[in-house]
Symmetry: C2
Subunit: 723 residues, 2 copies
């Protein structure tokens, strides 16, 4: 049945008839402008909600240029420079883009700059170095053979997203474009201006129903190099939220001073792979409180104007923390974000405390894909295949597209395909009726140093961009995002007093030393003890990659007794291993008795069996790829790595059932024999069967009430079985 | 020209005519017995030296059984046992072989046993545990969720080598065989007996010219499990040299007490991959002094009887340390050892302070190879190909074979082949005339925590057995063993005051945390500074795998500024890398301009460029496989791994030249264009060209005085060019 709504389209000037026709065809009930497009007058005629982007931290450039003291700041680290004899002068801006940053030399250098001997970790006294000019520091008596760096505060004189767009689109020759400056709402005069400008804008824009904030105040970390190429990107980075004013306010509130090194963090800039320090957590908390309160003022103004407030999950989203404790206080109505894969989709759709979430789907209607050589239908299919897995488990409330509609309408097959996708999305949404489909009887707790605040955000660097080093670990998140398990993200602090009731299986995933594996947290005997007792009392634990890794007391894996495997550092090469092999273990059983094949590519090497009880399920050379262990009343599963695939997702699902000692109920649980096909079952008896592959699949369903459980699905195809 | 001598044959009873014929054919000038064979009366007639094995630490079994208090001891660690509620009783012998070990419960348990909480590292007070019976310990008030181990002193009641032979040859049903007990010469009554027995034996064996000690007093660590299979083997292990008497003597000499944990070492037992502790180094020194003085008494007795004293490099060789400071004091005339590959060959042939060295070649004349399905000729060829590379660079003085001659003579092709090998060996030896061939003009220092004492012994677990995890690193040693560079093994202490004069290129090879990479040594700022200045002043450094690795101050590789690469721990994934690529770099230039291909399989992953100057020569995905960097006046080369092959050896040779800034002299240096062919040049102008491959190779020689430098060599073939 064709239905209508829950779809947002980007529209533009000059194609009014196409807009109307397309809105009808896709069932769109909302329209928006894009970067570089304007809303046509037509919007008044459309029976649709109208969104408009709004840029509180850079929308007011005339004012910004008149107030150059209002820029955003960042801490940057100079190159690591060795003292090899002679004068040691460090060119602190080496490698940075002078169009983006200018060292702020006007601050109290003793307090807000810092020179560190990176050989010893010692901070030099102010008398030991001097500023030669705006971008050169001299170390006065360097120690021969030591390395020095300068942590310096820099004004950010070019907004990150605008810089990206400007450089990518080569706007140098466009006289209508300027390099936009970001301003810092921490300054009272900026805040006053932002507030009054929003009031003015709201009063002038009656036609707008939804103010789509793009976004608020602090951009994620994005630094370009002197070749105008990306030098550093951290989608979670708080680096561009710093300022002297904020640091002073922090001191007043928290009673201790942050140093430049608290931001520079040995050059790692507190990326989310770092086990967060207390200082950084405090800073996040501090800025989250500030941003939340300021956002609330804006949303109050929006509501007072009779409009809705929507936040874009990206760009200047830093400090909003949708999974933080204060998100309800923002007063936001909705969040919209870009859907890159299943995990990023869940990152949006699981956000609590808003009335609705919206996913911006790929591909953007941009010329890089919409050209004669491009494959927009293929990209739409790939995107939908990934996103649908997540949407079924936790529905977005809306979907939408971005870019130039005038471009998309030149590709009728694409329009046809997204028409189907929009309808399939509505069918899924309506079947769920605001609820989720039935969950599997096992609850999973993903355990790391971040916990809830980084729900679905682990192992990501720049949104959904792939990174070779994280592929084997982020695959676990991607798998979970489309599996029928209820998932909670838990920090080590959350379980120190005991694993919360209701969690059946803990999952610890990642590389040694990272926040996701846990690093030094595993030196905490209480934490170890809690997990040991949880498993011994009947709980399950799954470790992927380098779980629980902290080198101490004769082990890397601090729970090597629980997992029965540990990483070989070459210190135990003298020990002979005679693993018990169990290649036909439950977790590897596939359709018709054929074994599933674990792809652990990119995962950790050289994990070896270290107890007599462990069973090795898969291995390559001397490296264990999968192992299972019984421990007291409970069970553990080790996997060396799990890049996403439907087959690996199936192995993870079976491992979760087994770890929870629920393998006997797996056979009758809702699933298709072929792992390429996913199945969701709803409270009213409806069953949605969808092919998460590009092949035609015939398979048999288990656990569904319908009699006829044999199905055949086209590539990406789906069907509904209703009681 | 056929020559004679420098070859030792194993002979046996009952094949006198064959012995004579074969000795003549191979040019053998010495004979020996093997384990399980006796020397025939014939030896009196042969114009040959006669060797006899002698077992000072287990040869006297009747006496040993009468003196059960004289056994060798070892420290063993019980399984890591968690406290999960209820009584915590640890079965300390779980997994050990009761035929090999019996816990010694008669010692002062408070001092010589130790119970450790492996969760916290805390040693429990004696009151916190009790011994239930000979093999069970109860922890009286275990902390829930903690792990406990017992370090216990055990009597070794079965000699390691004899146990190995007994079990391997299934002697259980042989009434003439008993499980032999090793005895400890630390006890005065044992030493008295050993001394007097040797005197008696020497007097009774006029026919023996060479006493082949097999070996002295303390066996390398070899532990079997309760299935009678090897559980732990460390060819360098000192575990079986411990005793209450020795620990007391140590205390008296060194002024501090060793604890059981000093031997158990978190369960790693001070294997040579561990960065050695002060306690362990002191123990090595202590036992080396003791063993040296006792060996000297034996060699004096041997010499007094008009015979030579030869040491077998293996079995009970612990404490002799052929590369230690005291080896000259042993008075030994010769060392004989088993040649597994080039590195193990150099380990023998480079031993200083003896009159001659002898290599026992493969294959042994044993039924595992000498049977209709076996390939003794193939094994002889493989062995000779590897050993010859080393022998040319540093000649052994003699070679020999082991096993049953009666078996070998059934394979005439094999006899024919080793006849050629023996002759080729003598030709090489005589060409060198006691010297080495001309060396390349670059001196290499292999830098690790062990230095000289572990010359050619790094990355080995059990002699030349292959280990997947070490292949990429031990390959560097194997390459160096056959390359024309003078090599010194240097410890970090050796260079702390400055890299010694004459060293051109330092090589640091291994896995992070190991003694070979250096582990915590790299936290030493002075060490870092010395190496930085050495390179900056014009020196070279080559790092392979995870060189200089110690996580601190924003780097894994503490010399990442020198190498320009560092290991990515995921903390820098936010940083974009734009490596300068130099795939056609000098170090990769092969014959005729074709690039050499580095095989870095098994090496370290995720090393990335971190400076603007570094050039990436080879990579896979985001992992650098080879990189070069200019640093001050000097140069560095990073290689991710270097499993041995002739091609990798060639890359290493070129890297050494380049790092030493000697690449301009490479073209004219002595080498063949084809890396499969090695060339050695002698002071008198002779040139030896040898094909280190199993293929026929035609190539052109560089740097030789001969006019006609184009050669073609059969598989494994060789030729001499003489002026």
């Amino acid at each position: 049945m064709t239905t209508h709504g829950r779809v947002t389209l980007p529209i533009e000037v000059g194609i009014d008839e196409d807009v109307k026709k397309l809105m009808q065809q896709l069932g769109a009930d909302a329209v928006r402008n894009s970067d570089g497009t304007h809303l046509p007058d037509l919007v008044h005629e459309l029976a649709a909600k109208v969104y408009s982007t709004y840029f509180p931290a850079r929308g007011d450039q005339e004012w910004a240029l008149d107030n150059p003291d209002t820029t955003i700041h960042q801490y940057l680290q100079s190159p690591r420079t060795p003292a090899l004899g002679g004068d040691l002068v460090i060119d602190i801006m080496e490698g940075y883009l002078t169009e983006q940053f200018a060292p702020n030399t006007q601050v109290d250098l003793a307090r807000y700059w810092q020179v560190i001997d990176r050989t010893t970790g010692r901070t030099l006294a102010r008398e030991e170095w001097e500023l030669i000019d705006d971008s050169h520091v001299r170390i006065l008596a360097p120690e021969l053979g030591h390395l020095y760096t300068v942590n310096f505060l820099a004004r950010q004189i070019w907004d990150s997203t605008q810089m990206y767009n400007y450089i990518t689109n080569n706007w140098d020759d466009d006289p209508t474009r300027h390099q936009e400056r970001p301003y810092d709402v921490r300054l009272p005069k900026v805040w006053e201006r932002v507030r009054s400008e929003l009031d003015r804008w709201l009063a002038e824009h009656d036609e707008i129903d939804v103010v789509r904030f793009t976004t608020f105040f602090y951009h994620f970390t994005l630094v370009f190099n002197n070749q105008r190429k990306e030098k550093y990107v951290d989608w979670f980075g708080y680096s561009a939220s710093v300022s002297v004013e904020a640091m002073e306010a922090f001191y007043a509130e928290y009673g201790y001073r942050l140093t430049p090194e608290d931001f520079v963090d040995e050059g790692y800039y507190n990326c989310s792979f770092r086990v967060p320090t207390k200082a950084f957590r405090d800073w996040m908390d501090f800025q989250n409180r500030f941003v939340t309160s300021r956002v609330r003022e804006l949303t109050d103004a929006v509501h007072a104007a009779g409009k809705e407030a929507m936040m874009f999950l990206g760009d200047n989203w830093i400090g909003t923390e949708p999974y933080g404790e204060r998100f309800a206080e923002t007063g936001l109505d909705a969040v919209v974000g870009s859907v890159g894969n299943a995990a990023t989709c869940r990152m949006i759709s699981d956000i609590p405390h808003v009335r609705y979430t919206e996913g911006r789907f790929l591909p953007y209607f941009f010329p890089d894909v919409f050209n004669p050589e491009g494959d927009p239908v293929g990209e739409a299919n790939t995107s939908w295949m990934a996103a649908r897995r997540a949407i079924v488990r936790s529905p977005l409330d809306r979907i939408g597209y971005g870019g130039y509609l005038s471009l998309a309408i030149q590709f009728p097959e694409f329009v046809e395909r997204i028409t189907q996708i929009c309808q399939e999305f509505r069918d899924i949404y309506e079947a769920a009726a605001g609820e989720r489909p039935l969950a599997a009887p096992v609850r999973v707790g993903v355990l790391n140093a971040w916990g809830k605040v980084r729900s679905w955000q682990t192992h990501m660097v720049a949104h959904a961009l792939p990174f070779e080093q994280t592929e084997a670990y982020v695959g676990v998140l991607e798998a979970l995002a489309g599996l029928p398990f209820d998932v909670e993200f838990m920090s080590f602090d959350d379980i120190r007093a005991g694993v919360p009731e209701g969690i059946d299986v803990l999952v610890n995933v990642g590389e040694a030393g990272t926040a996701f594996s846990g690093g030094a947290h595993w030196a905490d005997v209480e934490l170890q003890s809690v997990v040991r007792r949880f498993v011994a009392d009947g709980g399950g634990i799954i470790g992927v990659g380098e779980p629980c890794a902290y080198i101490a007391n004769g082990a890397v894996n601090q729970l090597s007794d629980v997992f029965g495997v540990d990483q070989e550092q070459s210190f135990s090469l003298s020990t002979d291993r005679y693993p018990t092999r169990a290649e036909e273990h439950f977790i590897m059983q596939g359709e018709g008795g054929a074994a599933l094949r674990l792809n652990a590519a990119g995962g950790s090497r050289f994990w070896v069996p270290v107890t007599s009880s462990v069973e090795v399920v898969a291995s390559e050379g001397t490296s264990v790829h999968a192992a299972v262990n019984a421990y007291g009343q409970g069970r553990s599963v080790y996997l060396a790595g799990l890049p996403f695939s439907q087959e690996n997702a199936r192995i993870l699902a079976r491992a979760i059932y087994w770890a929870a000692r629920a393998e006997d109920s797996y056979e009758a649980s809702i699933h298709a024999e072929d792992q390429r096909v996913d199945v969701a079952s709803y409270a009213d008896g409806a069953v949605f069967v969808y092919n998460s592959s590009m092949e035609t699949v015939s398979t048999v369903l288990h656990g569904v009430p319908q009699e006829k459980a044999a199905v055949t699905l086209e590539p990406l195809g789906s069907l509904w079985l209703r009681p």
